[in-house]
């Protein structure tokens, strides 16, 4: 109990420090700058990274819970790929309309993510974990190829979509672009927290969970809808960042144990910390040519992940 409170305080303090340094990091290096550029340029980016990280962390934790599989992650299972594919289809087919309403791009991302999620469950959800991941890999390859084709064919959106595939959209964060996806991230994250106890019951298997009074089909529907929403909204903010949804829940389990009432909120906090930390580091180390958040996440996250895998925390 004490160690959980300690972990919570520690993460919150680190997060506060990272937020402060993120606000202080600018193109000319470290410094607060004038308040105007701080608010207009940096705050939306910081908020977007926090919201996306939160949604990625909780979404990853919920997807691992619903598939009872520590390898399930919206990146590996193709849900992120679906979100970006949805955006690519919209930008490729109707580049003129896409920016007219602020909800069009989030809606396209959600459509893509949901389509992949539904395919994933109907094809791969009921079998072994190998089948789930193979299905996910197939869907991922398909959506990535689809995005690539559209990217190559669309003149004006080419750079935008390429940046999205590399998880490099945080750089263009403005209030106009990010308020809606950020709110959707928050909404999906909060609603996913409500699934904590049913996800715990589901860990005994579908039959046992139903025996314990858990409405499994309804739980699956809600979890899939909400993880698709979280993945889509986060993709609108950052582009593709595959690793956080995998890493954050594992870190959370190592810190506070496997109960979802703790894993989900801690995954969210850690996801926000990881994404904002990665983005800030990428900007701070090379202010002239910043690294994308996705690149830094993978460089730093992969060793941590392998270390966790070695120590095998359930």
């Amino acid at each position: 109990m004490k160690s959980r409170a300690f972990a919570f305080i520690l993460i919150t303090l680190i997060l506060a420090a990272v937020i402060a340094s993120a606000l202080a990091t600018g193109p000319k290096g470290f410094g607060w700058g004038d308040s105007n550029s701080l608010l207009l340029l940096r705050a939306p980016r910081v908020l977007a990274a926090l919201a996306a990280g939160l949604a990625l962390g909780i979404g990853g934790g919920a997807q691992q819970g619903i598939f009872r599989n520590p390898l399930a992650d919206p990146g590996l299972t193709g849900v992120f790929g679906g979100a970006l594919f949805g955006i690519a289809i919209l930008l490729g087919l109707a580049p003129d309309i896409a920016w007219q309403k602020s909800w069009l791009i989030p809606a396209a991302a959600f459509g893509g993510a949901l389509a992949v999620s539904i395919l994933l469950v109907t094809i791969g959800g009921r079998g072994s974990s190998a089948r789930l991941l193979l299905t996910g890999l197939g869907l991922n390859a398909f959506t990535a190829a689809g995005t690539l084709v559209i990217t190559a064919r669309s003149g004006e959106s080419r750079e935008l979509l390429t940046n999205g595939a590399y998880g490099d959209w945080l750089g263009m964060a403005t209030i106009e672009l990010t308020w809606l996806p950020s709110l959707l991230c928050l909404l999906a994250a909060l609603l996913l927290l409500l699934l904590a106890r049913p996800l715990d019951l589901l860990s005994f298997g579908e039959d046992a969970a139903r025996g314990f009074g858990c409405d499994v089909p309804s739980l699956q529907r809600r979890a899939i809808l909400l993880t698709a929403l979280a993945a889509a909204a986060a993709t609108c903010l950052v582009g593709q960042v595959a690793f956080i949804g995998l890493l954050a829940p594992h870190l959370a389990r190592a810190l506070v144990g496997p109960r979802h009432a703790l894993v989900l909120p801690f995954s969210g906090l850690l996801g926000a910390l990881l994404l904002l930390g990665a983005d800030t580091l990428g900007r701070g180390l090379w202010p002239q040519a910043p690294l994308s958040a996705a690149a830094v996440t993978a460089v730093l996250g992969a060793p941590i992940f392998i270390w966790i895998a070695r120590s095998r925390h359930g």
């Binding site: 819970g65 009872r68 599989n69 106890r197 715990d200 019951l201 589901l202 860990s203 005994f204 298997g205 039959d207 046992a208 139903r210 025996g211 314990f212 009074g213 858990c214 409405d215 499994v216 389990r253 144990g257 496997p258 109960r259 009432a261 925390h313 359930g314």
Partner: protein, 240 residues
């Protein structure tokens, strides 16, 4: 107060992959009684128990538990009328047992059952660290903790003594007896002849059909055992 009729099944049948796994099974069970379902592997014991628990995707025939069709009420509502413990315990995450107490929502009852099944010392350990038999006992404790009031409820256990040691097998037998005395209708699928003989009634299942039904002495006769399992009573280890 008389004993309420808890489980009423008429002509239950279930088809899985084009094969009739159970066929035309009728049974009734009142509160305060115990019944064992026995039969060879693949006889349909688990399917019958899952069907009664309301977990089969579809079935023929009529079924009511405490007057309600379990398929027609919400799963949360079904909890009030029955508990079900699956045959094979699995757990996707390595929960400490005190976490499971919280998840159960019935912390005290769960710990009570852990004590009855001699697991009180495992409370601070994690479930994957326990032996197969101990994990099975934890699942039983979790399932039984969900039963707020045994009276008039169905307790459906799939091979509850499977892989348990003698001491815990005895604990399960007395737990079943105690639940029945508190007014529950217990139905237990089992290969454990000692457990079956301790029940009020035995249903012998073979190839999805009911072969014999009655008291243990009526049903578990050398003739039935030879017919259903193809073994002579003299070589079955639990024979008396």
């Amino acid at each position: 107060m008389g004993e309420p009729l808890v489980i009423k099944a008429l002509g239950l049948g279930v088809e899985l992959g084009g094969r009739r796994v159970i066929d035309g099974i009728s049974l009734i069970a009142s509160g305060g009684t115990t019944a064992a379902i026995v039969g060879p592997n693949g006889a349909g014991k688990t399917t019958l128990l899952r069907t009664i628990a309301g977990l089969a995707a579809r079935h023929d025939g009529e079924l009511t538990i405490a007057g309600i069709d379990p398929a027609k009420i919400s799963t949360a509502g079904a909890m009030a009328t029955r508990v079900y413990c699956a045959q094979r315990p699995t757990c996707a995450w390595n929960y400490p047992l005190h976490d499971l107490a919280r998840i159960s929502g019935q912390s005290e009852a769960f710990i009570d059952w852990l004590v009855k099944l001699s697991l009180e010392e495992a409370l601070h350990r994690r479930i994957w660290e326990l032996s197969g038999g101990e994990q099975k006992a934890v699942h039983l404790a979790f399932a039984l903790s969900q039963l707020a009031e045994p009276f008039g409820c169905a307790v459906l256990l799939d091979e509850p003594t499977d892989s348990l040691d003698f001491h815990r097998q005895a604990a399960v037998r007395s737990a079943v007896k105690a639940l029945a005395q508190a007014g529950a209708a217990c139905i237990i699928a089992t290969h454990d002849m000692e457990l079956a003989r301790a029940c009020d009634r035995v249903l012998v299942l073979a190839e999805g059909r009911l072969i014999a039904e009655g008291t243990p002495t009526e049903t578990l006769t050398p003739a039935v055992i030879r017919e259903v399992w193809g073994v002579d009573l003299g070589v079955t280890p639990s024979a008396r």
